[in-house]
């Protein structure tokens, strides 16, 4: 399969000097479900804005469906569907009118629009509310409507910027199932950003982990977890600052230990035979008079992948609406 999105050495520096995207390179294959996983402020939205022709890149090369992003923007806009992070539906229009208007913008013939709008209303489960003003929709309904507007022209590539952030679990699961269906049945390429590990794990065939504007790891969720190659033992120490180095040096000598990193608990130990190591670790630390507050054992998750590469935990934060930051000035 060929690359439908190709990004090389992309850099974005905002006019205030913020380097939001710092030399990233990645590609997305046609028909793929690709994810960008990263905490708030990592540079996900900035990347999406560049890929969807809303923001001009500072440097690098980007092609979408074979079109260069700088010279081919009009061609790109015909084949992409975009759902931005902020839900954008017109509250004064009904659900049906919102989708129909988007169909007009996409230059779809009048006769076709009607049928397509009905299909979409059904897909996102909004038939009964279709003729009510979107102003009165719940936030989950608005997100679903927003998604429907992005799908009106059966886009080849769908860009979704945190499509489930802030949603209740039911709405989230519903959106996940439309997206999987869309990707499987229509073959739509999907580029999704998220702060939720379980979302990336569940949906994405391949993902890139982004932090402070840099891609720190990429691959399929399984590959990334396998890369850790070991189970993890998270150890919390009562006096982390003082005892951390001592503890690390003694654990390092134990057989089977692959890697030890600093973490928020205090120390993460990656080891092949983690379950049998726990007893040894507890005993060894006890003999050194290092007090434990917690020991947890787990098989590798994307959380470990993120922690391994950044030393931090990913934390999905509630969104703070900041309109001024939503529309980057282009240069």
């Amino acid at each position: 399969m060929s690359d439908i999105i190709s990004v090389k050495n992309l850099v974005e520096v905002y006019s205030d000097g913020t380097k939001a995207v710092d030399d990233i390179t990645f590609n997305v294959k046609e028909g793929e479900f690709f994810g960008f996983l990263g905490p708030n402020g990592a540079g996900k939205s900035t990347t999406i804005k560049i890929l969807t022709t809303l923001l001009r890149k500072t440097s690098g090369t980007v092609t979408v469906a074979g079109h260069d992003i700088s010279s081919g923007a009009p061609a790109i806009r015909k084949i992409i569907g975009v759902q931005s992070q902020e839900t954008t539906v017109d509250g004064d229009l009904t659900g049906r009118e919102n989708i129909t208007l988007q169909g007009h913008f996409q230059q779809i013939e009048g006769s076709k629009i009607k049928k397509r709008v009905n299909e979409l209303l059904q897909l996102v489960g909004l038939e009964s509310a279709a003729d009510k003003r979107a102003r009165n929709f719940s936030s989950g309904m608005k997100k679903r409507l927003d998604l429907a507007t992005a799908l009106i022209h059966e886009p080849k590539i769908l860009f979704l910027d945190e499509p489930t952030t802030g949603l209740d679990p039911q709405s989230r699961v519903a959106i996940w199932s439309y997206l999987e269906k869309l990707n499987k049945e229509e073959g739509t390429t999907i580029f999704l950003t998220t702060q939720y590990l379980e979302e990336a794990d569940k949906l994405c065939k391949r993902l890139a982990i982004i932090d402070f504007g840099k891609i720190v790891a990429s691959g399929s969720p399984d590959e990334l977890k396998r890369e850790i190659g070991a189970d993890s033992i998270k150890i919390g120490l009562e006096n982390c600052e003082r005892d951390r180095e001592n503890a690390k040096s003694i654990i390092k000598t134990m057989t089977g230990v692959k890697e030890i990193i600093n973490s928020e608990e205090c120390i993460n130990v990656y080891a092949q035979n983690a379950s049998s190591l726990i007893a040894d670790i507890v005993r060894a630390l006890d003999s050194l008079d290092i007090r434990l507050t917690s020991v947890t054992f787990s098989q590798p998750s994307l959380d470990d992948v993120f922690t391994k590469h950044t030393g931090r935990k990913i934390r999905a934060e509630q969104l703070v609406k900041a309109p001024s930051a939503m529309f980057g000035r282009r240069r």
Binding site: T52, T53, L54, P74, R77, K78, I80, V82, S84, E86, T88, D90, D92, L93, E97, L101, Q102, H104, F105, Q106, Q107, R133, T149, P323, S324, M326, F327, R329, R330
Partner: protein
């Protein structure tokens, strides 16, 4: 062709937004109507002090109130674009192939349409109170044309400001700051012979005076092209400047 249809879709969108917020529409008409009723009653003795074109103060002032309303509406135009930027709706349009100029044209045509509808309401009320348009139907159409043209020219200021500052408060503040001096230092509400000479001087250069005078002659005297054509010229000049600024800001936003 798509430019035309895209403009149409965006025009209809704004129209629906307007109609579905009748309270907003009512309040923007509220002030001109109060002016029409109260002012013309309070100042009805004016015509016994000086000779007014058309005779009554009501007929004199209707032109000024029409312009005041157009001015107020035009200054709200910028808020709509700020709202679309803040909500992300502008960006939503910009990721589609929609023709860029249509976004601006749709807004401007809906502004023009709105001000004509409001003007028709004011003229209807003035008629009920006893003010006639002497030039008849053609004259009324010319009045509507002049007001719509005037509205577009002044919408440009608020649109440019809205896109530049991205703040509806700023647009409101500057709009309010402009309204009163421009209106009161013009021939909108008071005859020129009634003003101290320094106000007369300012009023001569005030673009609002030109537009008011053109509408006033159409209402009260007849087709006085010597007043109407210069007014269109002045409005055109204002339009070139303000819409030029709008276009400049718009290109910065969408390019």
């Amino acid at each position: 062709m798509t430019l035309l249809s895209d403009t149409g879709y965006i025009f209809v969108r704004y129209l629906k937004k307007l109609i579905r917020n009748p309270i907003l529409l009512f309040f923007s008409l509220f002030q001109p109507i109060i002016f029409l009723v109260l002012f013309t009653q309070l100042l009805s003795k004016f015509s016994s002090l000086i000779v007014l074109p058309g005779g009554s103060y009501l007929e004199f002032a209707t032109a000024g109130i029409l312009l005041q309303n157009a001015f107020g509406s035009a200054l709200q135009s910028g808020n709509s674009i700020v709202a679309d930027i803040d909500s992300g709706y502008l960006q939503k349009m910009l990721v589609t192939p929609v023709k860029r100029p249509a976004i601006l044209l749709g807004r401007l045509t809906s502004d023009a349409f709105r001000v004509v509808v409001q003007s028709a309401i004011i003229l209807g009320l003035a008629y009920a109170l006893g003010a006639f348009v002497t030039t008849g139907v053609v004259g009324i159409l010319l009045i509507f044309f002049t007001i719509a043209f005037f509205g577009l020219a002044w919408s440009g200021i608020s649109l440019a400001l809205g896109m530049r500052t991205r703040s509806s408060e700023t647009v409101f503040a500057i709009g309010g700051f402009l309204t009163f001096p421009l209106l009161f230092l013009s021939t909108a509400l008071f005859p020129i012979s009634f003003m101290p000479s320094w106000v007369q001087d300012i009023s001569m250069f005030n673009p609002i005076s030109y537009a008011v005078n053109a509408i006033r002659v159409l209402m009260t005297t007849g087709y006085d092209w010597g007043t109407i054509l210069p007014a269109w010229g002045v409005i055109g000049l204002v339009a070139v400047i303000t819409l030029g600024a709008t276009l400049y800001q718009f290109r910065k936003v969408v390019s």
